[in-house]
Assembly symmetry: none
Homo-oligomer: 141 residues x 2
DNA sequence: AGAATTGTGGGGAAAAGTGGGGAAAGGGGG
DNA sequence: CCCCCTTTCCCCACTTTTCCCCACAATTCT
């Protein structure tokens, strides 16, 4: 379970710390991938990543479909691990994709962690909150 | 079950005590989240939080929906626990959101506890009482 | 009235955030 | 094929923040 929202510096070498509480759930290493649909970087613990990619692969109906899926999923994924200071280095393609400069917002999103640039996150946050309150008002909590 | 309304000091380090009666129902730790819709901090016992977040997640219809929902729910939530004096430390984003300065009104709200700044609470209180009496008169008690 | 619990404040030790340096590895050019 | 340059990785150092413990005053309970 990943909670909360934390701003962190990205240094010149592209390194970002993750909150200690997150690290403890990621001792086995992590997979970095493009956020699906959203302009952010998704960080999965390896176990969770395997679960996800397997369940996706199982839903591909044709071999051609599966190949495409595999390319899209694995092609943009990188494995990473923590240095002695609890930081991971962001691969440049992902960093560029998410538009992350010298600050990253680290967001806990239940089963994964997301990295956002400040601007995109502010927008996404308000839209997510709107949608959540709609669901709550409609169905109740 | 949480009852009552108590004013407490918030010290320079952002720590707030909760009433002993509340603590005893929160030994396993708590989750702090934005009050849904209202400008306050909601404090849930972990078990109650899990119940709530699960039931909300179940209402998301599409994967994209679910991701957004997770961001709204988990992104603004923080776990916390009590220090030796029965206090919890308020994460700065939440404190700012609720506009809590050096005093917090701790309010028992049945399944959770809410933290308000004095001003907002006074307003919410009168409006809540008015609405409640209307509801009672309309539907009976 | 005495004892225990609670509200409030602060200090010190440990951990976390940030930045930089040097060695090893990889690639390109001579 | 060798050398040099670039890049990457790992380690070290410093500053700030956080966490945990102690202490006192006030209140409550017995």
């Amino acid at each position: 379970m990943f909670f909360g929202e934390y701003p962190y510096k990205v240094d010149e070498k592209g390194r970002v710390p993750l909150p200690p509480k997150f690290r403890r759930q990621m001792r086995e290493g992590v997979i970095l991938a493009k956020g699906m649909g959203e302009k952010c970087i998704a960080v999965y613990p390896v176990a969770e990543w395997k679960r996800l990619s397997d369940s996706l692969a199982a839903k591909a109906v044709t071999p051609a479909n599966l190949r495409k899926l595999n390319r899209a999923i694995f092609g943009s994924a990188f494995s990473a691990s923590f240095d002695g200071q609890g930081r991971i280095t962001l691969p440049f393609p992902l960093r560029e994709y998410a538009g992350i400069g010298d600050t990253a917002i680290v967001v806990g999103a239940n089963n994964c962690v997301e990295l956002w640039c400040e601007g995109e996150w502010k927008a996404e946050k308000t839209s997510a909150e709107e949608q959540a309150s709609q669901i709550i008002e409609t169905f109740g909590a």
